[in-house]
């Protein structure tokens, strides 16, 4: 029964368990590198491996890199600690020899199931449960509301309905146009002064460092005075785009433009919203635009749902906004202002957004004058807090976007102080 006893010392059993844990974490998308594994094992030597809390936090510190990975780690660690199989394939194979419970008692971990081999547990993992576990990373996939509102809002979208995913393939020439757009945005993006200076004969700041350097050659005589000028760096562009039902016919191109912008400006952030907010920067970031667009499309949970701009902006303000994503940025909202939520909330949130942004730009694809349509209620609520309102801009005119961004003023707009809330009943 003690199979392969010599090479499977208890330490090895712990190590093996650590490797398994790391492998399972990788399976669920955590970046448990070999480095991290190594750190984890070194960490285990420093702590009491019988103590669940210490084990947990050691694993947490080495494998988790952001708060959103927390639930995944929790779930897997739970299984790990209880000695349950972590991955389906592992359930009935390998490492049968390393049952640490059979070994001597000079180490702390041997009595615990999580350090035991799993070879003896031949029970197959329940299919349903396993599927459930694979769903961990996208826990909140339920969103009934988004579909109910679709018909109402999409009603006036008389043209192409492009939201179905199979219709969203991009043609080669379109991709080319997008690459051109990316180039153009890069060229046109508004700049800000960085604190860093660079040597420039035309600069106005006296540069001691440079002057001394050059006077070394002349025995300390400063023949040439050095000057420097502040470096200009691209200002952060933050896109918040509506991809709800009423924006359906623009969504496809909008998404592509976002991809181009994120690829172009090194500090561009892209978010889309319908009923809730999705950050796309990570999905869109990458060398291959086509691949990036595919990833981004898959990442949007409520494509063409109803719109609750207020709630989406509130979500932005209280999460990313609070952490400073909009600070000093040119914030570009693309939406027609059709809002199913409370206009009061929308108003409050747009105001908050404006206070954080360098400039708040609102691109509304609906022309104001055509069919004498009044502004959507949401749009009207947001109006007082917008620095640049661009009505009637068709996001489908791809080249226009770069021009628009280039044309945006980067200076601080004059804003009148608006009372937080009109007081009254």
């Amino acid at each position: 029964m003690r199979l392969g006893a010599p090479q499977s010392s208890p330490d090895q059993a712990v190590m093996l368990a650590a490797v398994k844990l790391a492998r399972a974490l990788r399976e669920f998308g955590l970046s448990a590198s070999v480095d991290a594994e190594h750190t984890f094992i070194r960490g285990l030597a420093e702590i009491d491996v019988r103590d669940r809390t210490q084990m947990y936090w050691t694993g947490h510190a080495t494998f988790v890199h952001s708060p959103d990975q927390h639930p995944i780690f929790d779930a897997i660690f739970e299984r790990f600690w209880e000695g349950r199989p972590l991955i389906l394939e592992e359930a009935g194979s390998e490492h049968g020899e390393s049952d640490a419970r059979m070994q001597g008692s000079h180490h702390g971990g041997e009595a615990l199931p999580q350090f035991g081999g799993e070879g003896k547990k031949k029970t197959a993992v329940d299919g349903d449960r396993n599927r459930g576990e694979r769903d961990i990373p996208s826990a909140e996939s339920e969103d009934g509301a988004s579909h109910q509102e679709r018909g109402v809002l999409a009603a006036w979208s008389d043209q192409e309905i492009l939201s179905r995913r199979e219709n969203l393939e991009y043609q080669e020439d379109e991709l080319l146009a997008l690459r051109l757009l990316a180039k153009e945005i890069k060229r046109q993006a508004p700049a800000r002064r960085s604190r860093r200076a660079h040597a420039s004969p035309a600069g106005h700041r006296f540069d001691v460092r440079q002057t001394v350097r050059s006077s070394l050659e002349t025995d300390g005589e400063a023949f040439r005075l050095g000057f420097s000028a502040p470096t200009m760096r691209p200002r952060r562009l933050l896109f918040l785009c509506d991809v709800s039902g009423s924006m359906e016919r623009y969504s496809r191109v909008l998404l592509a433009s976002l991809g181009a912008a994120v690829g172009a400006a090194r500090r561009a952030e892209a978010f889309v919203f319908a009923t809730r907010l999705t950050r796309l920067t990570k999905s869109l970031d990458g060398r291959d635009l086509e691949q990036a667009l595919d990833k981004a499309r898959a990442a949007i949970p409520d494509w063409s749902g109803g719109t609750r701009i207020g709630y989406a902006l509130s979500e932005f303000n209280s999460t990313y906004g609070r952490r400073g994503y909009a600070r000093g940025a040119i914030v570009i909202v693309v939406s027609d202002g059709w809002d199913r939520g409370d206009p009061k909330i929308l108003e409050d949130e747009v105001r908050r957004l404006q206070l954080q942004a360098r400039r708040l730009v609102w691109i509304n694809p609906r022309p104001m004058s055509v069919d004498q349509q009044p502004l959507a209620i949401g749009m009207r609520a947001a109006m007082p807090y917008i620095d640049d309102f661009v009505p009637g801009h068709d996001p489908r005119a791809v080249a226009g976007l770069a021009q628009l961004i280039g044309g945006l003023a980067s200076d601080r707009p004059a804003r009148r102080i608006v009372p937080a809330r009109p007081t009254g009943p």
Binding site: S31, E46, T58, A61, P67, R195, N317, Y325, R421
Partner: protein, 296 residues
């Protein structure tokens, strides 16, 4: 020498500095010290990220070296610079000391941390610096050595304890995270917050501390724009104390709420709500809390 032989020992040492941490944080800090790895801590503003480094430095009796990051920070502000005016004077005076020698070297925080035999290095709000700086830091953090072209390689005799904080205004590079241990600090629970407040403000009456802490705990459940941190709780307790109040009451609460909440919308929302009821609830809960602890 920063040697702690157990997590409990570390906890006790920091508690004596009036920094109370939960078991999770204690474990991670202990590991960071033992493994010689930088510790990246993230969390809402006001949960005591910076305070951790300060407490750690005074608990171990080593200097705290702080590098505050900002947009555009570069090598000359973080690592070293040359003392140009002095170099120029030396040149003009015809001195013989080589211009690019230690004598004219200005040590900035990172170099200072390498030169000290023991130190706690706090790299504060790294997310504010640019990506290039992060890349530069990567090199520093993996080997604890830097190369100064004119002098050569400077290596730390013993790597400092490094605490990096970030407010998550942007994602830090994965490569940097890989080199660090990671911890997310949450707001403390009632028990801990009361303990912190008592440790920090020993001169304030216990019932006031209990009541205010349970009030703040309730506030954090509301979806405020900016939840109050521990620092603000302490300020608020202090405010009540200065005004000569020994109990939480709605009127004083309303007039001093600005110490706790710094957003106009939040303030209005709380003032517009039923403050009397909220205060009564907190007083009640504080009493229960005390009884429970008393029994224990």
């Amino acid at each position: 020498m920063h040697g702690f032989n157990s997590i409990a020992e570390l906890s006790t040492a920091l508690t004596s500095q009036r920094y109370l941490m939960d078991e999770g944080l204690a474990t991670v800090v202990y590991l960071a010290i033992r493994l010689g790895k930088p510790l990246l801590v993230e969390g809402e503003p006001g949960v005591g990220k910076t305070e951790l480094a300060k407490a750690l430095a005074s608990a171990t009796g080593v200097p705290l070296i702080r590098l505050q990051c900002y947009e555009g920070i570069d090598v000359h502000q973080a690592l070293y610079d040359w003392d140009y005016p002095r170099q120029l004077l030396q040149l003009r005076a015809g001195g013989h000391t080589p211009l690019y020698s230690e004598e004219f070297l200005l040590r900035r925080p990172l170099l200072e941390a390498l030169a000290q035999p023991n130190a706690v290095l706090l790299i504060d709000e790294l997310d504010r610096a640019d990506d290039e700086f992060e890349a530069f830091l990567l090199e520093f953090l993996s080997d604890f050595q830097v190369t100064i072209p004119e002098i050569g390689v400077v290596r730390a005799p013993q790597p400092p304890i490094v605490i990096i904080t970030s407010n998550r205004t942007r994602d830090l590079h994965e490569a940097l995270k890989r080199r660090c241990l990671y911890h997310w600090i949450d707001h403390p629970d009632l028990q801990r917050e009361v303990a912190i407040a008592r440790a920090r403000l020993p001169h304030v009456g216990q019932s006031l501390v209990d009541q205010i802490c349970s009030f703040v705990q309730d506030l954090r459940w509301l979806d405020l724009y900016r939840s109050p941190g521990v620092g603000e709780t302490l300020d608020w307790v202090q405010a009540f104390h200065e005004l000569g109040h020994h109990q939480l009451d709605a009127r004083t609460a309303s007039s001093t709420l600005g110490t706790l909440l710094k957003e106009r919308d939040d303030l209005e929302r709380i003032r517009a709500g039923d403050l009397d009821a909220a205060v009564a609830r907190s007083v009640q809960r504080a009493q229960e809390f005390r009884q429970r602890n008393y029994l224990r």
